[in-house]
């Protein structure tokens, strides 16, 4: 190695490391990452106590990684490199042609059985009919799309176990969605069902409730966004798939009351603000909240949904029929579901959750209280 060449290599190495450091320092800090849908770590403050207990250095590491230049771009580079090596799984998401499907891992700590037991206890505790509507995720409904031999926990067997619960009436989303597996019932870049999928879910739920669903033709399908890049887009680092389009079928004006912080506020079936953000699915009912009530004076009957986010795109369909649809989220609403249902004169309680949520939720103990 000649002296000149050694100097060149030395300079190359130092410029690569030092250049990124300078870039990092000059780049203004971002408040949040839209791709990751979270607030990013800010420059930590140096205090003696933080230094002594090690929390300062950890905060520096978080800050440095979160504010790294071209953060999203690097993730894409990794995904492409992995694809080249023959990988089909990217941070727990399978790439299946033009579709991303999240793998479902086996439940921890027996949460699957525990949450079924909580549901059964709810049915014991109240005279109001209790329905269990477990929604299979794309990994089950679209199992044939997964790479051959790729693992995903058996949701169908679990749903079938749910049907055997005493005192609980089943809602068969498994068959309803399975029969329509050839259609676009889930987003390609997000883990939720599409409005079409939610429509099939609504039809199955109405059938279980003993009521007649409206046929598809009665709804006017409109595109709300064609730029939807969902959670799986972020999680996988696969950024080159075409975005999803998001539809709205129900256009009626209902009274929507939203309890986000303990006080009721007027809201709508849809929150247009979210269409301009990354988290477009929260357009439906404005996303996660402890409690939300949709009123339709022409409807009959009152229904309580123990919700997760899948329920948000299904609820507008139900509102066409029911006088009141209540959506309660036990991750944020810390009270007894049975007591609430009795106080508000509900005619039915539906535990309406996707299987991946149901088997990881640690708050469903509130169901039995």
């Amino acid at each position: 190695m000649t002296k000149g060449y050694a100097r060149f290599l030395t300079a190359f190495f130092c410029l690569f490391l030092g250049g990124i450091l300078v870039w990092h320092l000059l780049l203004p800090d971002r408040e949040r990452s839209e791709t990751e849908n979270r607030t990013l770590a800010r420059r930590p403050e140096l205090t003696w106590s933080a230094l002594a207990d090690g929390s300062f250095t950890r905060a520096v590491e978080d800050y440095f990684a979160d504010q790294f230049p071209l953060r999203d771009g690097w993730t894409g580079v990794k995904a492409r490199a992995e694809l080249l090596l023959g990988k089909r799984e990217f941070n727990g998401v399978y790439l299946c042609g033009d579709t991303l499907i999240a793998r479902v891992n086996p439940p921890l700590d027996g949460l699957d059985e525990k949450n079924l037991a909580h549901t059964a206890r709810l049915a014991e505790r109240t005279e109001i009919p209790v329905y269990l509507g477990l929604i299979p995720s794309a990994a089950e409904t679209w199992r044939e799309k997964l790479p051959a031999g790729a693992e995903s926990w058996d949701q169908a067997a679990f749903i079938a176990r749910g049907w055997e619960l005493e005192g609980v009436k089943p809602v068969d989303f498994l068959t309803a969605l399975g029969a329509r597996a050839g259609e676009d019932i889930f987003y390609r870049t997000d883990h939720h069902w599409t409005t079409l999928g939610a429509y099939y879910g609504y039809a199955a739920l109405m059938e279980a409730l003993g009521r007649e669903p409206l046929p598809r033709m009665t709804f006017m399908r409109m595109t709300a966004s064609e730029e939807f890049q969902g959670t799986l887009y972020s999680q996988s680092g696969i950024h080159w798939l075409a975005p999803d389009s998001m539809e709205v079928w129900v256009w009626d004006v209902f009274t929507v009351t939203s309890w986000r912080d303990g006080t009721p506020k007027e809201a709508g079936l849809y929150d247009d603000d979210y269409l301009g953000k990354k988290d477009k699915y929260s357009f439906f009912l404005g996303g996660n909240q402890p409690l939300c009530v949709i009123r339709n004076e022409e409807g009959t009957g009152r229904l309580l949904l123990i919700r997760d986010s899948y329920a948000d795109s299904l609820a507008p369909f139900l509102a066409r029929h029911f006088e009141e649809v209540h959506l309660m989220d036990l991750r944020y609403y810390r009270g007894s579901a049975a007591a609430y249902a009795e106080e508000n004169g509900m005619d039915g309680i539906v535990v309406l959750q996707s299987v991946p949520n149901f088997i990881t939720d640690r708050n469903l103990g509130l169901l039995g209280q």
Binding site: F12, L21, G54, L85, G86, R88, G149
Partner: protein
């Protein structure tokens, strides 16, 4: 701090290099000491005190041994004190909880556990400072009179947390006076990048497969083929993780003007278990040979004593890797194979074709990794039961695993051989000059991408 982190690569390292090279030569040991203490204290700031205490005690003992050299008994006493101190330090932090838990299994015994995190690198720096005092006594190394230079040696961040175990005598001259040139920096930077790529791109990737197979065992879906794929994955993970770390250490050392000894020499090409241990983690096996095996009499005092010595050294080697029964078992396992090769298989191996010997060695070593990797002996037993046909032999998931990791395995196998090195040497100089920066740039960029994605970056060697 660990080398394969964004903070190290793009903040700590460039800043350290800038400060180090801007300072005059005589101040560089002091700079090295200061930045190394920051490096060490990054994860657990309170443990800097252990590092400082250990440095002070060993420095003093080196001086005392030198001072009382003419009174041999006293000098020996100080060597003994230093060894005892280091072993107590190691024993307290690394082995107390294991010992207490094991003894508490007896009736009427209930010892308190410490539950404190292990000070990083403690297994490495206690061994280094122990050998320093011994070497001073044996006149194998000169005494270090400058506390700053000695501190710089003990805390030197390139080798601090994952070796190689650098004996004082190998760097004594460079500590006293070294020149820093681009001709050292450039190959050092190249070696560092190679190590980083081995760790981040190869070891971490294949490590994900091992974790997946462990999870499959827990879920009851593991097959025999999947079990062996998992063990292969772990064997490659630990090799590329550890040797990658050694490459980074050796490269960084060279950047700062030090020549550390090599630590790995293509161990998976070995034609016997004995040879494997001459090519794997050479600084550790070398240390045990020099300061334990040979002082015990080595293999020159008859069969019974040789057997005893092998057993002692390998139980210690096993325990050095971790405070748990599986590591003892792992040490015992290798003691048995080494004794077998020494006394029984030697003649037979001579007549065996090379490729059979290599396969035999790989089979022994990788099975050993299975024992090494699973601390819970019940889990380990269950895993091997499946591997040896106690369940299904093949599952659909294995096909998926092979499609997902086939190319990675191919790269790992080729990277374990000397093929790359010999091809590289055959390159015309011009091609090498173009390829070196191109590959370094690609390697650094890919590592950055993987680290930013960063969901999977556990570090295997914090335990040691």
């Amino acid at each position: 701090m660990i080398f394969s982190s964004l903070t190290f690569l793009f903040a700590y390292l460039p800043l350290t290099l800038a400060v180090y090279f801007l300072m005059p030569l005589r101040a560089r040991n002091a700079v090295l000491l200061a930045v190394s203490l920051i490096f060490y204290g990054w994860g657990e700031p309170v443990y800097i005190s252990i590092m400082v205490l250990s440095t002070l005690i060993d420095y003093t003992h080196g001086m005392l041994v030198e001072r009382f050299r003419c009174r041999d008994k006293l000098a020996r006493w100080f060597v003994g004190q230093s060894v005892a101190f280091n072993l107590l330090l190691l024993g307290f932090f690394k082995y107390w909880d294991f010992l207490a838990a094991s003894l508490s299994a007896l009736p009427e015994v209930n010892l308190p556990r410490l539950g404190a995190p292990l000070p990083i690198g403690i297994s490495f720096f206690t061994f280094q400072t122990m050998s320093y005092t011994i070497d001073v006594y044996r006149r194998d190394a000169p005494v270090q009179r400058s506390l700053i230079s000695f501190g710089a040696y003990v805390t030197m961040f390139p080798q601090l947390i994952a070796g190689p175990i650098v004996q004082y005598k190998t760097v004594a001259a460079e500590l006293a006076g070294r020149v820093n040139t681009a001709e050292d920096f450039a190959p050092g930077a190249r070696r560092f990048t190679l190590g980083l790529a081995k760790k981040v791109l190869l070891a971490n990737s294949i490590g994900a497969l091992w974790d997946a197979q462990l999870a499959a065992r827990a879920a009851g879906t593991l097959s025999a083929a999947g079990g062996w794929l998992g063990i292969l994955a772990f064997g490659f993970q630990i090799y590329f993780d550890f040797s990658g770390y050694s490459d980074m250490a050796i490269g960084l050392g060279r950047i700062f003007g030090f020549r550390f000894n090599e630590n790995f020499d293509h161990p998976y090409l070995s034609a016997s278990v004995t040879e494997f241990w001459r090519r794997w983690h050479m600084s550790l096996t070398g240390w045990f040979r020099e300061y334990l095996y040979i002082p015990l009499g080595g293999s020159h005092c008859g069969t019974a004593k040789t057997l005893r010595n092998i057993l002692v050294v390998w139980l210690c080697t096993g325990l050095w890797h971790g405070a748990s029964w599986n590591f003892l078992l792992w040490g015992l396992y290798f003691a048995a194979w080494l004794a077998l090769e020494k006394f029984v298989l030697r003649q037979a191996l001579k007549k065996t074709p090379g490729w059979v010997k290599r396969l035999y060695t790989l089979a022994v070593v990788f099975t050993g990794w299975g024992i090494f990797a699973m601390e819970d002996l019940a889990v380990c037993g269950g895993y091997f039961f499946i591997c040896f046909g106690g369940g299904q032999l093949w599952s659909a998931a294995d096909g998926y695993t092979l499609r997902s990791y086939g190319l990675t395995f191919l790269i790992l196998i080729l990277a374990s051989t000397a093929l790359g090195q010999s091809l590289w040497r055959k390159l015309p100089e011009r091609a090498e000059q173009i390829l070196t920066p191109a590959l370094m740039g690609l390697g650094l960029a890919l590592c950055t991408a993987y680290l930013v994605d960063g969901s999977y970056n556990p570090f295997l060697y914090f335990r040691f």
